[in-house]
């Protein structure tokens, strides 16, 4: 079973911490990372990618995106996009990375080659969060201008169709009045819901299929982070007042809660604001990062804290729960790869290139099976034999004829030998008879003479 790990980063340069969610054991700490909110992602569990924004450095005008492989604490690959990127997100197969720029542009890179496949102007102000929907055909972005927009990647790449459309986005939601702080979406394909949080103290639930608001939840404080329960009966909203509110999605409307309509309850232990939330795969554990630098793990059934990790003194900006592939998983790859280790992809390019150069797509083809699974089928001799027997039994087929010819040949040889033998015998007999006759006549004549 894969282990689940918690990784966390903060806006100050304290690196990325990494713990085992269930045992609490601390893993490697990856160095030199200062990521803004939503600026940390795991690319298909293969490596970590994070956007960097450093105010203090002289090169503050442009941020960077860095890669860490699981096994080394140092930054391995550094990319320098055209402008500072805040949120980054990767699809689950790790083929694409999308980044939201401070100018409101969205950048879409291919990971394997680092090519900037597309860049489009998405928002009037900086993109604050990005997320893929469950089948990863849509990209949902939230921005500082308060809008949430849904993009179909198919349309983004279809030049002909794009020109026919009035606008590039599928939906544009403008109900938030202030900066959007987090966007999450759940299962359900075209019927999925999108939950967005904003500085206007509300979380709004949107229907993807209808393209309109389903529910508006007003919170006592600004919500900076949300996490959707995997079963989607509630969502968790981390507030600046240090509480994690539990808001119902499927529950009946209750107004008797202390916090407000739709809010079922709250987890509270934090002294400072909650900045980020993540859920474990089974939905029983909730991980929260706080401004006080602590990471708390909650049991959502008992609503108790079951573990606390200390990341740093300063605020935590990102926590993720990742199913980490086994460290030995490279054995499942082909020997060549195992020997060299799967290298990290090249850095992300700054500018989009000529579309003609995208004629080739680098891809790992086929299921990467374990080598001993290859051995399933391939014994063939019995099968071949059966086919040949069939052919042999079929009168007049070439194989049967071949065998018959060979058999006849040997029979012929035998027969020839036999004939020789018979001939010899015959000749012997002949000789014998002749000599016998001659002798007989002799004696006869002799006897006749005698008569």
């Amino acid at each position: 079973m894969e282990t689940e790990v918690v990784i966390a980063s903060s806006p100050t340069d304290v690196g990325i911490s990494c713990w085992d969610l269930h045992t609490g054991e601390e893993h490697l700490r990856y160095k030199s990372c200062a990521s803004p909110s939503h600026g940390l992602t795991s690319v298909a569990g293969r490596f970590l990618a994070s956007s960097q924004i450093r105010e203090s450095k002289s090169s503050s005008s442009s941020g960077s995106i860095q890669y860490w492989s699981w096994s080394k604490p140092q930054v391995e690959v550094r990319s320098f996009p055209a402008e500072p990127i805040k949120p980054v997100v990767s699809n689950s197969q790790g083929t694409y990375i999308a980044g939201g720029g401070v100018s409101g542009d969205i950048y879409f890179w291919e990971v394997a080659t680092g090519k900037l496949l597309k860049k489009w102007h998405a928002h009037y102000r900086a993109v604050s969060c990005l997320v893929f929907n469950d089948d990863e055909s849509l990209l949902i972005s939230g921005a500082e201008d308060g809008s949430v927009r849904v993009w179909s990647l198919f349309l983004i790449f279809d030049d002909a169709r794009r020109e026919e459309m009035k606008h590039l986005f599928e939906y544009s939601f403008h109900e938030h009045s202030l900066r959007v702080t987090d966007v999450k979406t759940g299962y359900g394909g075209s019927n999925a819901i999108i939950v967005s949080a904003s500085e206007d103290r509300t979380c709004k639930v949107w229907s993807l299929s209808k393209g309109k608001i389903l529910r508006n939840v007003v919170f006592p404080s600004i919500i900076d982070a949300i996490s959707l329960d995997p079963g989607e009966h509630v969502f968790y909203a981390g507030g600046r007042d240090g509480k994690i509110y539990i808001a119902g999605l499927n529950s009946p409307v209750t107004s008797n809660s202390n916090y407000g309509l739709h809010i079922i309850g709250a987890l509270s232990e934090h002294s400072k604001g909650v900045t980020c939330l993540a859920s474990s795969a089974d939905g029983f554990l909730l991980v929260s990062g706080s401004e006080d630098g602590m990471i708390r793990v909650w049991d959502t059934r008992t609503r108790n804290i079951i573990r606390v990790f200390r990341h740093t003194k300063g605020p935590v900006s990102n926590v993720l729960v990742i199913r980490q592939p086994k460290r030995t998983s490279s054995t499942s790859l082909a020997p060549a790869v195992r020997r060299h280790g799967l290298p990290l992809p090249p850095p992300l390019e700054k500018f989009a290139n000529n579309p003609d150069e995208n004629a080739y797509v680098k891809v790992l083809i086929g299921p990467q099976t374990l080598p001993n699974q290859l051995l399933d089928s391939p014994y063939i001799s019995v099968q071949t034999m059966e086919a040949q027997i069939k052919e042999l039994q079929q009168q007049g087929s070439s194989a049967a004829a071949e065998v018959d010819v060979e058999r006849l040949k040997s029979e012929q040889v035998r027969s020839v030998q036999m004939i020789q033998q018979w001939k010899k015998m015959y000749e012997n007999l002949h000789q014998f008879c002749v000599s016998e006759l001659l002798e007989g006549s002799h004696t006869e004549s002799a006897s006749g003479q005698n008569l």
Partner: protein
């Protein structure tokens, strides 16, 4: 102790082996007459594991020795046989040696494989001339190396042994041997590439040259060609690096392109070839050496007897090879030339065999030949496209648009069933892998194509559909009759279509065969699964209607047995049963995929599934069971909907019914008949969400809902006195737990209903043309639902108040009666103004919504109002009746 075990007795095994050796395995002295006896030997050895020499602990030394000596003599006999001068005996020895390689114990294998190897190798080298022996030896060798690859400690030795085999195997390939030998030699090479890549590595170029020259020679039969293509696609694996894969792919596609030049000469514009070449070989990239080295160049002359057939089979093999490379796993990342492949496939798909006017040199004879080959070429072209989609998965994204465009264009032109099926299959995979993002943009295109292929209704009215089914049955039976006569494949059963055309000429020629319909249904199912509820307004209603009609028609004449066709012909052909299953699958997707309105055909669908489930033991019954399980949630919704009246902007009605204003795809006649035909009055307008919300207020639904809900009508009053039914998520539930306070709420709820009725009245006066019974009713739903839930929630801590409950029940009965009347009234209104539904209705509805929410907030605030509203109950009734003449 061992004697009691019978056939499981280990001691039996050596004896059995010896008796096999004595009775069935040929020997030197006696003639070997019946080769099929070997089959018995093989099956016995395999079943009883006679060669395994494995005995359970504790070991008995006698047994081990006996077994060992038995296997020793078995091996000895085989080796003698394999050296026999008589071909049949030698063949038997080789075959059984192959079996021994699979079955014997590891120790024995490792100890003696070298000896066996030499024996086998001597049989594929001259002076052995018999094809039979060569083929059998290749097969046995292949098995030996397969087994050998499983031992990690023998890898090195195995590799050096394997290197020795390659040369003789290549020689077999290069010689002009028979198909049997070629096939086995190719298999041997595959084994080597898979398990001992190093051995092939050294002979890479010569292997490639040998394969390609055979491939191009045109002397091989289809089977061998297929295997040759396969081994060529495997070849880069022997090196296992990015460059060899890429080089091989480039060589193949360029070779394909030049072959296509020969084939399509005169059938397409000259620029096409250059365009494709540019896509395949972007400027700045140098062209690779020709496939198979220079040796193969001279073989590509077309002076043979049937040049077009030859060209066709070559191109198909290369395309197949291309597909294999795109789908079989490769250890490292490789650059796939997507644009080039799509351009190449596009080139093949866009040729239709017609001569462009500018070009007239081509003889009609050649045109005929090429035209006969085009469908096969296109099928393989589509397979490449499918392989690209499969191989690239999500990375296809930047190129999806081009592929979709190509497929769309092709589906429009394509007439051949097999090709259509393939195209639909690719669309289906694309939809499933690319998700909603693509579905919302290409849904309309798919739907219009599917409508043409599922064209049950071209020019027919009600009576004809039964004839259609009868005809389809005859079609089926004549198909199976055909199958009896000749072993028909999928393709040939389509060719059999003209036979039925004789029966009913006027209708059949424009019908697609069942298998195309199945493919179309599957594509539609995928579309509904992925994007059935997003941006589907323009086609959803017609598609739902189409699917229920197709399913009803498919299942009208009872269920056909699925076994029959399997019995008659070995390979599966599309049957009526498959069609029924496909139509039910699509129907389920249509029912489950949430739309704006409650599934209109739920009742009919449920009935179909229920009937299907009774066909015990069939796949169809299994599926129907699954469908009923899935639909149960739809009938009794558990999760509460998100939407409520308290959300700030609740203007879904405004967006709501654009459905009727949209232009329908392709203006097909059958679609417009749906529109004009009698639509279910209750299903057209009610929104799914609102209906579900309204389920706490069942009464309202009953008014207009048809039979399926009829049984609920009795329930609410009953539950008022029967607390055990309190679980029901209907109003009754709240009644049973009602406290005085709650009852007040409930009274207010019913009061609101009356308010609504009053509003209805007002509204009708305002705009008499519209007939929005359902809208208003449903709009009211959320409010009452909320209250009902509140009641359930707080019901725990309260006392029951039977008196009040009774009162409510009577009030409810009152309301039922009244709303029945209302529905009648509206029925008449609806009939008069049926066709006049316009946009103004929407505006009306929003005003209503506002007004209702205003009233609701009023009632919330002032408790006094409730009693008043109760009084209104009696006074409202005549008002509405009065409203009737007004609206007229």
């Amino acid at each position: 102790m061992s004697a009691s075990e019978g056939m499981y007795d280990v001691a039996l095994k050596p004896k059995l082996l010896r008796s096999l050796l004595r009775e069935y395995v040929p020997d030197e002295k006696h003639p070997f007459s019946n080769p099929s006896e070997l089959l018995y030997v093989v099956s016995t050895v395999k079943t009883h594991k006679l060669l395994s020499e494995w005995a359970p602990l504790p070991l008995e030394q006698d047994l081990v020795d006996a077994w060992k000596s038995a296997v020793d003599s078995w091996v000895h006999r085989l080796l003698t046989l394999a050296s026999s001068s008589l071909p049949d005996k030698c063949w038997a020895g080789i075959c059984l040696l192959g079996l021994t390689c699979q079955e014997c114990s590891s120790e024995r294998f490792l100890a003696s494989y070298a000896v066996w190897l030499n024996k086998l190798v001597s049989n594929i080298q001259p002076p052995v001339g018999s094809h039979l022996l060569k083929a059998a030896s290749c097969a046995s060798l292949s098995d030996m190396f397969t087994r050998l690859s499983g031992f990690s400690n023998a890898k090195k030795d195995g590799s050096s042994q394997a290197t020795k085999i390659i040369q003789p195997a290549l020689k077999l390939l290069n010689e002009d041997s028979s198909a049997v030998v070629l096939e086995e030699a190719v298999c041997l090479l595959c084994t080597m590439i898979n398990f001992f890549p190093l051995s092939v590595h050294r002979h890479y170029d010569s292997v490639e040259a040998a394969i390609v020259s055979k491939l191009m020679s045109g002397k091989c039969c289809a089977n061998v060609l297929k295997k040759l293509g396969y081994v060529l696609s495997l070849l880069p694996k022997s090196r296992g690096d990015e460059d060899s894969w890429s080089l091989m792919m480039d060589k193949i596609v360029l070779c394909l392109n030049s072959q296509l030049n020969d084939a399509f000469q005169g059938l397409e514009e000259e620029v096409r070839s250059a365009q494709t070449l540019r896509a395949l070989l972007p400027p700045g990239k140098e062209s690779p050496p020709p496939l198979g080295g220079l040796a193969s160049e001279q073989t590509s002359d077309l002076s043979t007897r049937k040049p077009e057939r030859l060209l066709g089979s070559r191109i198909c093999t290369l395309m197949q090879c291309c597909c294999n490379m795109l789908t079989s796993s490769y250890p490292v990342m490789v650059p796939v030339p997507v644009s080039g492949l799509v351009a190449l496939v596009g080139r093949v798909l866009m040729v239709d065999g017609s001569l462009p006017p500018s070009y007239s040199f081509m003889t009609t004879l050649k045109q005929e030949f090429i035209c006969s080959e085009i469908p096969t070429l296109q099928l393989h072209g589509l397979e490449i496209l499918g392989a690209v989609v499969q191989g690239l998965r999500s990375q296809l994204l930047p190129h999806v648009a081009a592929i979709v465009q190509l497929l769309k264009e092709y589906l429009r032109r394509c007439k051949f069933p097999d090709l259509k099926i393939k195209a639909y299959a690719i669309l289906k995979v694309l939809l499933m892998s690319m998700g909603i993002g693509i579905a919302i943009h290409i849904g309309q295109d798919i739907v219009s194509n599917v409508f043409i292929d599922l064209d049950f209704f071209s020019g027919e009215k009600d009576g004809k559909s039964s004839r259609l089914h009868a005809k389809a049955q005859t079609e089926l039976s004549s198909e199976s009759r055909l199958k009896k006569r000749k072993h028909s494949s999928l393709a040939s059963s389509f060719q059999a279509q003209p036979v039925q055309d004789g029966l009913e000429v006027e209708m059949l020629h424009n019908l697609s065969p069942i298998s195309v319909k199945i493919a179309a249904l599957e594509a539609l199912e995928a579309l509904l699964t992925v994007g059935g509820s997003m941006r589907s307004e323009s086609w959803r209603v017609t598609v739902d209607h189409l699917l229920i009609t197709v399913a009803t028609n498919a299942c009208k004449g009872g269920w056909s047995k699925e076994e029959r066709s399997i019995f008659l012909s070995g390979d599966r052909t599309a049957t009526w049963a498959d069609f029924q299953l496909a139509s039910l699958r699509a129907l389920l997707a249509s029912l489950l995929s949430p739309g704006r309105v409650r599934p209109a055909h739920l009742a009919l669908g449920l009935e179909l599934f229920r009937r299907g489930m009774q066909e015990t033991g069939t796949k169809l019954a299994e599926y129907c069971g699954h469908a009923l399980l899935a639909l149960e949630v739809l009938i009794h919704p558990r999760a509460l909907p998100l939407l409520d009246l308290h959300s700030s902007t609740n203007e879904y009605k405004v967006l709501g019914s654009k459905i009727r204003d949209t232009v329908y795809p392709s203006g097909d006649r059958q679609i417009s008949t749906y529109r004009a035909g009698p639509v279910d009055p209750e299903s057209e307008d009610d929104d799914l969400y609102e209906n579900w919300l309204g389920d706490a207020d069942e009464l309202e639904i009953q008014v207009t809902e048809s039979k399926q809900n009829a049984d609920y009508t009795e329930k609410p009053p009953a539950t008022a006195t029967d607390p055990t039914l309190g679980e029901l998520p209907v109003k009754g539930a709240s009644l049973t737990h009602s406290t005085t306070k709650e009852v007040e709420v409930l009274v207010s709820a019913t009061g609101r209903n009356d308010k609504r009725m009053g509003n209805t009245d007002d509204y009708m006066v305002e705009s008499p043309r519209s007939r929005n019974t359902q809208d208003q009713r449903a709009d009211n739903g959320p409010g009452t639902a909320v209250d009902g839930c509140v009641a359930v929630q707080s019901g725990k801590d309260a006392l029951e108040s039977v008196d009040l409950g009774r009162r409510i029940a009577s009030v409810e009965n009152d309301t039922t009666a009244k709303s029945n009347v209302i529905s009648e009234v509206h029925g008449t209104i609806a009939s008069t103004s049926e066709q006049q539904v316009t946009e103004t209705k929407d505006d009306g509805v929003t005003t209503i919504v506002k007004r209702i929410s205003a009233t609701l907030s009023n009632t919330d605030r002032s408790k006094d109002l409730m009693l008043e509203s109760d009084n209104e109950l009696s006074s409202d009734f005549p008002d509405i009746v009065d409203g009737d003449p007004d609206s007229d």
